[in-house]
């Protein structure tokens, strides 16, 4: 009878620990997802601001935004609790770097087309969706 009681308590404790850890993981995952969504918004706004056909290229504003982006991505990588998600964030940063380099080259020569802007946004949304496992 006593051993049954102990077994039951051990089981209940284990179950409680398991449920609590699931709750913590879900909470942390939600925070990580929110970070990725925030990076997506920044990335899309960046393209929206600089991939505009016919718009005069402002190098100072562009470089400031790129620096802001770099800081955001680096912070997100450093703060990421899920180690498995770090390579994904590194890939998202690589996408931002590549987009920034491509946009600089195109916008500074006035070669941004509506199709370029539209396709860049599609790629951003797709890679962030995949980063979130969608």
């Amino acid at each position: 009878m006593k051993s049954t009681l102990i077994s039951r308590n051990v089981f209940l404790c284990a179950a409680a620990i398991f449920i609590a850890s699931c709750g913590t993981a879900t909470f942390t995952k939600t925070g990580s997802d929110a970070t990725i969504e925030s990076l997506r918004s920044f990335h899309l706004a960046f393209i929206g601001e600089f991939a505009v056909p016919g718009k005069k290229f402002n190098a100072t504003a562009f470089n400031a935004k790129v620096n802001e982006g770099n800081a955001k991505f680096q912070q997100a990588i450093a703060d990421e609790k899920f180690t498995a998600r770090r390579p994904v964030l590194v890939d998202l940063k690589a996408q931002f770097d590549a987009d920034a380099a491509h946009l600089k080259s195109k916008a500074s020569h006035g070669k941004v087309t509506p199709a370029l802007a539209s396709e860049m946004k599609k790629d951003v949304n797709k890679i962030y969706d995949h980063a979130l496992g969608r």
Binding site: V88, D91, Q95, A98, K106, T113, E119, D123, H130
Partner: protein, 122 residues
């Protein structure tokens, strides 16, 4: 989400797309083999059960048409091919490797050959 990358046995219909018509006009004999291989591969990918494979093929096709119609240039096209490769890596990182092996192979093949075909197209 992709459904596991099983090959569909039924061949997709070969109604000529805008891209097919453009590819048929490529006169360069040295590019003909790559073009034919690309058309077959693209057709197979567009009929695949995996959403990732289909989506990848449709994007490549759309961008080759944009390139051909001069809505984007070769630099843009190359940038998008690199984006697609990076996106594929992100997707595969989040999946069991075994389930994605075939999908990855087919998508990478399409992207690699698309880059060669793009040169002949412009």
């Amino acid at each position: 989400m992709p459904s596991g990358g099983k090959k569909k046995h039924k061949k997709p219909s070969r109604k000529k797309s805008e891209l097919d018509s453009a590819l048929d006009q490529i006169g360069d004999e040295s590019a003909a083999a790559a073009t034919k291989e690309f058309q077959d591969l693209l057709s197979e990918a567009k009929g695949d059960t995996s959403e990732l494979v289909r989506q990848n093929a449709e994007e490549v096709e759309r961008r080759l048409v944009l390139l051909k119609n001069r809505k984007i240039d070769k630099e843009d096209f190359d940038h998008f091919i690199e984006n697609q490769k990076r996106d594929l890596r992100v997707y595969v990182d989040g999946q069991p490797a075994q389930a994605q092996e075939r999908a990855e192979k087919l998508t990478i093949q399409v992207l690699e050959i698309a880059a060669k075909v793009a040169i002949a197209l412009i």
